[in-house]
Symmetry: D2
Subunit: 385 residues, 4 copies
């Protein structure tokens, strides 16, 4: 049995997230990077590909060529799925081209530049046999999966109050005016879309909330701002939420919370128990009760849901982190790809990877948040697309 | 030099906060409880007073009698100030009676039943020589004072984003229907006013925010709810804030956050540094920077502001807590009383105790939050009274 | 019913622990400081006493006078017990004088200057009707009591391995050469005894270990040192322990652990569960299991042992600390005194205060540790006196 | 440029550490697993190899065959180094065979079954051109490297007191009697050597201590025990240490600390600053001072030593863990191998991987600890081999 073969678009020299995707893909030894169109020029793409130990002929100057050439290769050599790690504005065209050429797609988030695009993407997928995955990293953490399992099993009772926050500080100064590529494209509407903060991190927080609770956001009231002078996109915001079951929520996201690293955390309060989880200490999940001691659940522990345990590689006390969470998404998606190739169902656990419906809700969240913030009306319905 | 003499109204058998006030008053050996009207019947008041080692003649059946009788006592024996620890609806009448009789007032919060009453109280104080203090406990913690000092000294630069939360879980079930006196009056509009959650704890969070930043809330957008069936007052809510300098904020308060104890915490993000503080680990203040390691400041440490150090009783590593914070307010107020008695200015540190202006803003916060929550309009100005 | 009347020896101007004792005594309103011999000169003692609001005639120039004069006062006025807060070398003579005069004794630790003295003290007590208490502060914390209860109830099974550490950093430089009174007497053999580090803090760690486990140390192997140049007493050390049931242990104490505050912590490993507690976060006790999540027990919570709950003054989430722990010892001892005065048994909880047997074991620990450290032999029996 | 080619001995079905080594090797995309002798039978080795996507002809039935066959392959195809992940008793024979065949060796720890063997190994290496690395995992963590850098730069001043502990609980019951392969070989003297606890984890603690401080242990006094009935090797122990500069230390290791996961932690106290690090929260390093706030250093932060930053893959707040630490050792060793293959010096950072001298000291530690524990003499010199 061979490894699953992956191509990559984006992720060349100077990129951040592409390297993470590659490590995540490599970790379990089940995926092989076989080709890529890493940069916007053929020369830089070649240089990137060769530093990744690819042969020159599988380093493409652009994704159009890559999909065309790979399609001509023998079935047991050509890439099976593409990993898209470009800035946001390229997500849709690359994904559409891949689908047209018959390749599965695993994309960085947000799925597209705007809501209309993601609907178009969903349509293209519907009329194809291609699989689609979206790397909402935080859904890959074992203890996030445990949180979801526990709520699904009713251990928290009815969810009443939720709070999720995602403060970062790295854009507290105008890095985008200072040759920082990562900052520059995220604050450029042509490449990032209508939002910086909500599009880059708020959407992670919203996804985490819906993923864990399996409750949809039904309405929101938003207050976004551009704190650092000269920005035309939001870099900070807070949003009041109403969940479909009536539970109240609040979501805070900020790129100007100076001194914060990547401090995503969530609290879910039910009527029989509650839970809290923090991304910076991801191997711990705390469950709180009204009448007995709080419990500290730990990744890898024998008492966890068997589904959760499939996503740990080490025993408790051997910290796993961000790359392993990412690798869990890759492992699940690769198993889906393998299942499709072998005309069999993928393993159950492999379906626990965000897909196109998550993608649609993510784009709807971003657009609704921005529209709500610009409005004097208090509440805005979350569109059900 | 004698101790400062205190009377008490409320705080009889079965009360919670009255006992805390008495311990806070006793801790430093500078205040003596000399009399009280502890309960609504003379018999129970006497029983309470005697268990507190008061002589029978200083245990009064009601506060009217107490103020009248105490006023007749020789100046070196009669109470100098009254501590009011009744349910909210009695705060105003007791305070007015005390002022009329010439006694200083230290009151539990919120100051009155509603905004109109606190304005009335302010007027009464203005035409008297009486001092007024309000026990916003959390302003008594040394590391809260350090946070305030650092911001006042400009060490955070311009404040841009604030977040304060105060989740509790003790009202997650309908205790008020179950003989729980503490729950019952807090959820009874006649005794608590227009709000339970914002009136009992949200107002602490708002005060802490304004106290630390020395910035006023200028507008808010609120979403309060009554989560537990059968309640007519809010037991949960979140509020978007705008501070007077334009900074955005969010305030979360809940009495139904099951499993939470008294988890008040605050984060203030400036453009040169940030800080976080949590009431449940009150002796630590963390300062975060963009380009150097975060710092852990500890209560009692030599590097703190000298003003802060006046509010610690022990060296670092000897935890001080809630009662000591309360005692800091008592010590400050007692020093004000002593200064007044001796016709001299009180010590500088003694002025660092919440007073009538805090009281007015607190009541304005509660009423504005409730009104805003009931409105379809997004933003509501915070009245400047 | 009157308050219990306390006299004090030591604790005058510039002292640290005397003020803590007074706050602890005052906190619950059940003890009244009525007299004292606070300093080594009559003038300074008077000044101290008056700043504590004592009348001049109850401020004594020395403890001999105090015991003599107080004995002449009417029974309902004279002190009932003496709190001894002097440097170590005075503990015995003051205690003996108090006992001779018929006063109960509550003493700071260590009980005496050396082992021979504490045996002498035990004999004096045995032939008197006087009560004796020793302020091993850390035994006063509610969660320490809970730890003890749980082990006594068998919830940890057989104790197998223990570890206790008490690092402090305040003597990391030669403060004793720099006018620091607290440092100077602790490093002076004439006033401190044969040990600084083990006498001042190691003995607390040893007591905590025996108090929680109710197992006696049976043998030890010690390595003490004088790290800072010029010291003739130890300021740092580690000790291997054997408990009476065969469990192995290690005790670390240091006064030169630069940067540490008062970081006493303990871990007890049984064969069915384990526990950890840290003095700097005293309101939390963690219980660990092999096959289910760790539990976070919190002071004041309803699920604790009823005995434990008698030592909390506030609900969970309202931090109590060092002074409250101290006050728990004072409350218990005062209740013993009251019981004796009323010729009745004291309440059960009042017996949970360290006494003369703890004092004897403490002195035996100090002397054995120093002797063992000076020896080339590996193991030294802990004397059973 | 091709990837570095790795073979593996051990790590077949049911093994734990082999899979970790493979993930660590794969993570950065610079190493390719090309062959292996994974199990003690050819059939199981083949099955393991094929599940790892190796071709059948590179799955060997034993390591002797593997080294022989691989040596016949063309230089650009044959393995360059072997990763040894067998139980301890096979470490030496496999390593010697590899060296004889001219292959570099990267070995799991402890290096050999006993001290005599490691000396033999050192001699074999000395008369070869082979490289040798030892996977003391914890030396691979970025914040451990930062700790080492800071001490090397003198930021702690003179080290005075050290404390390292490594409690685990997984052997708190007699798993070895219950079909647990991991437990069984570790407690079998024929496969594990003279020690279980010190050989498996104590040696990690000792290495971490010497690695961070760059001070050698010069003497020790040990108290090891077999807590669980029926064991002939130690499963628990504590050791007093003396460092070469005179600093005192204590080392605790236990496999029966029920409830503990993999709780390695270390504290180093200097005369100008101190530091603490815990493996379970590996991305944080705390530096403590006497006169200013403690600092929280975080992995990936710009203010770290440039050497440290070479070992992080993500920005601060994106947790990296155990596998990444392991991967840092693999990356360094692979770079050494590549340097040797290209007849150039390896990059500086590549030399920061434990080698044969660490191996020798590790075996000396284990043997000395066991001998010292069995002796009535207090102190035992650490042999300088």
């Amino acid at each position: 049995m061979a490894k699953v073969r992956m191509g990559m678009v984006g992720g060349g020299e100077g990129a951040f997230i592409g390297a993470i995707h590659r490590m995540a893909a490599a970790l379990d030894g089940e995926i092989e990077l076989v080709c890529g169109a890493f940069s916007s020029t053929a020369q830089r793409s070649l240089r990137s590909g060769q530093s990744l130990h690819l042969s020159a002929e599988r380093c493409y100057g652009d994704y159009v060529s890559m999909f065309r050439e790979e399609a001509f290769l023998p079935a047991d050599q050509r890439m099976q799925f593409v990993s898209i790690v470009t800035p946001n504005h390229l997500h849709l065209p690359v994904a559409l081209a891949a689908i047209t050429a018959g390749f599965h797609v695993l994309s960085d988030k947000p799925a597209t530049l705007n809501l209309a695009e993601v609907v178009q993407l969903r349509e293209a997928l519907a009329s194809s046999d291609c699989l689609y995955g979206l790397t909402h990293t935080y859904a890959g953490y074992p203890m996030v999966k445990e949180a979801r399992s526990r709520i699904a099993a009713g251990q928290l009772g009815t969810v009443r109050r939720v709070a999720v926050q995602y403060p970062q500080g790295w854009l507290a100064t105008a890095l985008e005016q200072d040759q920082n590529k990562q900052a520059a494209w995220r604050l450029d509407p042509a490449k990032a879309g209508v939002s910086s903060c909500m599009g880059d991190i708020g959407v992670h927080a919203a996804h985490l909330l819906e993923y864990i609770t399996q409750l949809r956001i039904s309405a929101l009231c938003a207050d976004l701002g551009s704190v650092v002078e000269g920005r035309c996109l939001d870099d900070d915001g807070a949003i009041l939420l109403r969940m479909e079951n009536g539970a109240r929520g609040v979501l805070l996201a900020s790129q100007v919370a100076l001194g914060e690293e990547n401090a995503l955390s969530i609290a879910i309060y039910g009527d029989t128990a509650s839970l809290t989880w923090s991304q910076q200490e991801p191997n711990t999940l705390v469950i709180q009760y009204s009448d007995r001691p709080s419990e500290i659940l730990r990744a890898g522990a024998s008492y966890l849901d068997p589904h959760t345990l499939q996503f740990s590689r080490t025993p408790p006390g051997h910290p796993e982190g961000y790359i392993e969470a990412f690798a869990n998404l890759y492992a699940a998606f690769a198993e889906q790809v393998r299942g499709a190739a072998e005309n069999r169902s993928a393993a159950d656990w492999a379906m626990d990877c965000p897909g196109i419906e998550d993608a649609v809700r993510g784009m709807a969240f971003i657009e609704t948040a921005v529209a709500a913030s610009n409005s004097d009306a208090k509440w805005h319905d979350f569109p059900d697309l």
